[in-house]
């Protein structure tokens, strides 16, 4: 008992970023009461920025050598650290969007920032969960706060409706996941992922211990069901088919800055859990590659989900006219692309997911930033509001074009880097099945070009609709747009650093 407590206390040092974030949540709620008057917006944003900076500093000094914390509940390793940086960047970018957003009123800005920090904390925990209990708890932390943030504009019907849909689908998905976890626990007697791994591997060979369940076949079936059910909770966060239904409605109804956050942060967190779940529980490193140790054909399951997700996302996006909905379907499609990397079930596959997510951060947040600008300046979210944008706000239009082409995956932009690595991961595995999946992915990229081009066409090729004067873009937004473009161009041409970071993060998963 004392030893366990001592271990917990000893873990606190490595838990510094999370502690900082927790303190930050409380601090912002307090500061919300303190800061009044004209400078409130700026001061709150500064406070939020300082919390993020402190968390980043804490993250920088925390070691990332693989070890378990809190008796295995939390894992400290390179993968978790990679994702934490990603989440911090996402939160910082979101704050940059919120600064000038009219959707988040000045009176409730402190509340928004505090809740955003709570989501950030939850995502951090998702990325480092070493136990299914922790996975469930952190996932619920992210979900519960997200429900509130999606319905943040209480006076807006769409926002209320979005949050109701979010809460219903979210409740069901996490319930299903929990049910799956209960079967995992029943089969193996533990929810610790590190302990599950060897047991799942041994499981295929031995007859199931609890004969009452109907022997090995039934146990095998139970494991498949458990895996599929756990995928439901994770897939819901990724917005992958068939747990994507909430996505377009919530994206459209939620305040745009939060939609931007939602499209990157929780999606990445879902992938963090999936990578760890399958990486630690179901695979092991052998001969320079990975092998699936379980009798569950999870790469095939994930691969089929990937194919359906991207196809459905892209086909449905073709008919959308509301930009937020269109980007929602596009984000479903991107979840499908990302699942290809998971399906490859290899070091390179896991790496490609990491790289893609890092790149996706810049292009998708950038795209939503433009949507936020346009919604604030012209009040239009429809594609027709973007007509002739290149004449009214040339820089914004060019930036949006760059983001859209990067989302399509055209070189020399970073979106291509991500797609290239995903395809490379599949083709490295070889075999007709993986090649077929890659072909589906390739065809989907070509389809996605069509709806991205519709936006570009409206912005660049068509004349402005009605009285289209120049659109004033705040300096912060301009800087964010320029920074995103620069990042996309840089990682499109020189992606060695990103590739190296992802390699270290992935290898940590299989060494620890």
């Amino acid at each position: 008992m004392e030893a366990a407590i001592a271990r917990n206390l000893g873990s606190l040092g490595a838990f510094l970023p999370e502690i900082v974030l927790s303190a930050g949540v409380l601090a912002l709620f307090l500061l919300d009461l303190v800061f009044r008057g004209e400078g409130r917006r700026g001061r709150l944003t500064w406070a939020f920025g300082i919390v993020l900076a402190l968390a980043a500093a804490a993250l920088a000094v925390t070691p990332s050598s693989p070890r378990g914390l809190f008796n295995g509940m939390v894992v400290q390793d390179g993968l978790g650290t990679f994702f934490k940086w990603l989440f911090l960047a996402t939160a910082a970018y979101t704050a940059g969007i919120v600064v000038h957003s009219k959707e988040i009123s000045r009176a409730r800005l402190g509340e928004f920032y505090a809740l955003l920090l709570a989501v950030l904390l939850g995502m951090d925990l998702m990325a480092v969960s070493g136990d299914l209990l922790m996975v469930y708890l952190s996932l619920e932390l992210v979900s519960l706060v997200s429900y509130a943030l999606a319905g943040f504009r209480k006076d807006d019907v769409r926002s209320a409706e979005a949050s109701l849909k979010y809460v219903i689908y979210g409740g069901v998905a996490s319930g299903i996941m929990l049910f799956g976890i209960s079967y995992m626990y029943g089969l193996f007697g533990t929810t610790d992922l590190a302990l599950l791994g060897p047991k799942i591997k041994a499981f295929s060979g031995e007859v199931f211990v609890a004969q009452t369940l109907g022997g090995a076949t039934a146990a095998q079936l139970a494991l498949v069901v458990a895996v599929m059910f756990v995928l439901a909770g994770v897939g819901y966060k990724m917005a992958s088919v068939p747990w994507h239904m909430w996505c377009p409605d919530v994206y459209e109804g939620a305040p745009t800055p939060f939609t931007a956050f939602l499209s990157v942060g929780p999606k990445a967190a879902g992938f963090a859990v999936a990578l760890r779940f399958f990486g630690v529980g179901f695979t092991e490193a052998a001969g320079g590659g990975l092998v699936n140790t379980a009798t569950v054909p999870w790469p095939a399951i994930v691969g089929i989900l990937a194919a359906i997700t991207m196809t459905l996302g892209n086909i449905t996006a073709l008919g959308q006219t509301n930009l937020k909905r269109l980007l929602a379907y596009s984000s479903i499609a991107h979840a499908g692309y990302l699942l290809m990397g998971l399906a490859a079930a290899s070091i390179l596959g896991f790496q490609s997911v990491l790289v893609y997510l890092a790149v996706y951060l810049f292009m998708n947040l950038g795209a939503f930033l433009v949507v936020a600008i346009m919604a604030a300046r012209t009040g239009g979210e429809d594609i027709s509001a973007y007509r002739g944008l290149v004449r009214r706000a040339p820089f914004t239009a060019i930036a949006f074009t760059v983001f859209l082409f990067s989302l399509t995956g055209l070189p020399p932009l970073a979106g291509f880097t991500g797609k290239y690595l995903l395809f490379a991961a599949l083709l490295q595995q070889g075999g007709s099945w993986y090649v077929a999946l890659a072909i589906v992915g390739a065809i989907n990229s070509a389809i996605s070009l069509y709806y991205y081009l519709r936006i570009v066409k409206a912005m660049v090729l068509e004349p402005p609709a009605g009285a289209g004067g120049p659109i004033e873009v705040p300096r912060t937004y301009g800087a964010l747009l320029a920074g995103s473009m620069a990042a996309l161009l840089f990682f499109g041409l020189f992606w060695s650093p990103l590739y190296g970071a992802s390699l270290r993060a992935t290898q940590a998963l299989f060494r620890g």
Partner: protein, 536 residues
């Protein structure tokens, strides 16, 4: 001069960057719009001209007897994936590099507003959003040169895709009435082809490995497992490595990959039935862009097939040779017949490109040295002649603002100089002896006859159709009764002379002295022919 190719590729790219920088700095420097426009034009002319001059220097220094790459620049780019910056010129690419430099420069000159007649109802494309247009044009030029120079497959692919973006905007913004449709169609077609190509590229990468006699290494000597180096891949392919890999979908690996690559290139050529983007894109694009499309872009398909399909996968090429020949013949005959039915002059010339690129396919399929050289020469001559044809259409369109063949008549008396130039281009295109089209078509027929007798006979008879649609067009436009509307039509101006006369001269020059080009390419092509026919 070291790094010649790199300078040639990056000169236009630098020009493009300079223009963008100028536009960004404009509010700071408080420059009026006219000055920015003029400065952009100056940048464009200088950088494009420099690039052209460098390719000419290349021509002077190139040693046609050697088969390996010359003017090589080789450095590691992305070590994690063995990706290199590797450019070089050999017999397969040198002609295309020079052609690309020449046509690019001509297109830049054709984009200048000199002597343009101002008509408020029909604003000339060369005066709209000038810096944007020129920046994109230069980006396109750099990317095209990059495609021909790249010897690293990844680099090749990056340049290949880089070309799509400027092309989309150049057609979509500065094009004709149906520009948006044409631009999106072009983009979707080529992207669909190129994503398949990307998979094939990665597939070849993972298929490659060191075998005895072909050690794989990076530029700095580090031995590697897989490679994107096209020359190393070609060596591996010629030793039969890719035939032995695990089959895909029940078909042989090399054949599946070959097909994926071929479709990507065939869309660019464009080969029937993938050709439908071409008439739309050519017709809607502004004149200089049509010139580049017909003069250089189509050649990328032919070049890609030679470099990649033929070079890396010779065994699969032998398997598919008959198919290429048949599709080539279909292109020739189909293109010619469709031309007969055209009412729009630009569309007629667009379809004549389909027909003429068929000769390239037919010639390549035969594998004989004469036919391969003929196919290469055909790409060269078509590059010059079709560029000239599109410029000629542009001349008329700038003045009359329409291109209906039936809408003209008896122009020969009003615009004799124009008529002469058009006649020259038409005759060169239909392959009249003494002009360049004749030599290449003759070489293709001569080299192919022994292999595909029937197809050559069918194709040769299509030449009669070619002659008839050109002659009929001349008759309808230039002879007969003068259309009173065009009584005051102005003859060619100096800007147009600047672009048309050099091309006209070249089409005569290569009609008499095709050896100038053949000397460059024969060495490499003979070796390729040798490899391809190895298993016969």
């Amino acid at each position: 001069m070291p790094h010649l190719l790199t300078y040639a590729i990056f000169a236009p790219l630098a020009g493009s960057a300079a223009i963008v920088l100028l536009v960004l700095l404009r509010p700071l420097l408080r420059l009026p719009k006219e000055q920015v426009d003029s400065a952009s034009r100056l940048f464009a002319l200088v950088s494009s001209g420099l690039s052209f001059a460098l390719t000419l220097l290349l021509w002077a220094q190139f040693d046609g007897a050697r088969t390996g790459p010359q003017f090589v620049d080789h450095a590691v780019w992305i070590r994690g994936f063995n990706i290199e910056y590797f450019v070089g010129a050999d017999g397969i690419s040198i002609a295309m590099i020079i052609l690309s430099g020449l046509i690019s420069f001509i297109a830049t000159i054709a984009s200048m507003p000199w002597w343009v007649h101002d008509d408020p109802q029909h604003p000339h494309f060369s005066k709209r959003m000038v810096p944007g247009y020129l920046a994109l044009l230069l980006l396109l030029q750099g990317a095209m040169l990059g495609v021909f120079c790249a010897l690293d497959f990844f680099l090749f692919y990056v340049f290949w895709e880089l070309m799509l973006l400027p092309m989309y905007f150049l057609i979509g913004i500065w094009g004709g009435p149906r520009k948006e449709y044409a631009a999106i169609k072009f983009f979707l077609y080529t992207l669909a082809g190129s994503v398949l190509m990307l998979l094939a590229v990665i597939g070849l990468y993972y298929g490659s490995r060191s075998i005895p006699g072909v050690p794989l290494a990076l530029a700095d000597g580090t031995p590697v497992q897989h490679t994107f180096n096209m020359l190393a891949l070609a060596q591996l392919g010629q030793r039969g490595l890719f035939q032995t890999l695990t089959s895909l979908f029940g078909y042989r690996f090399d054949r599946v990959v070959w097909l994926a690559l071929f479709i990507g290139f065939a869309i660019k050529i464009p080969m029937f039935p993938f050709h439908t983007w071409l008439p739309d894109a050519h017709v809607e694009a502004p004149t200089p862009i049509s010139v580049i499309l017909a003069g250089v872009l189509l050649k990328m398909g032919g070049y890609g097939i030679l470099r990649v399909n033929f070079g890396i996968l010779p065994e699969a090429t032998r398997f598919f040779a008959d198919m290429i020949a048949v599709f080539g013949t279909i292109n020739i005959v189909y293109g010619a017949f469709v031309c007969l039915a055209q009412k729009d002059l630009k569309k007629l010339i667009a379809y004549s490109s389909v027909s003429h690129m068929g000769f390239v396919l037919l010639g390549m399929a035969a594998f004989t040295p004469q036919a391969l050289s003929g196919a290469m020469l055909q790409m060269w001559t078509h590059g010059i002649v079709s560029a000239m044809l599109f410029l000629i259409v542009g001349v008329l369109y700038d003045r009359a603002h329409h291109r209906e063949i039936e809408g003209f008549g008896g122009l020969a008396a009003r615009v004799p100089e124009y008529t002469a130039l058009m006649g020259l281009a038409f005759f060169a295109s239909m392959g009249l002896p003494g002009l360049c089209g004749f030599v290449s078509e003759f070489m293709v027929f001569y080299g192919t006859f022994a292999v595909y007798q029937t197809l050559v006979i069918v194709s040769a008879s299509a030449v009669i159709i070619t002659a008839s649609y050109y002659l009929w067009t001349i008759q309808r436009m230039f002879l007969g009764k003068l259309n009173e509307k065009y009584r005051d039509l102005a003859d060619v101006n100096w800007r147009e002379r600047l672009t048309l006369y050099p091309l006209g001269a070249l089409s005569i020059f290569f009609g008499f002295y095709p050896q100038a080009v053949l000397d460059l390419v024969n060495g490499s092509l003979q070796q390729m022919s040798h490899v391809l026919r190895g298993a016969f």
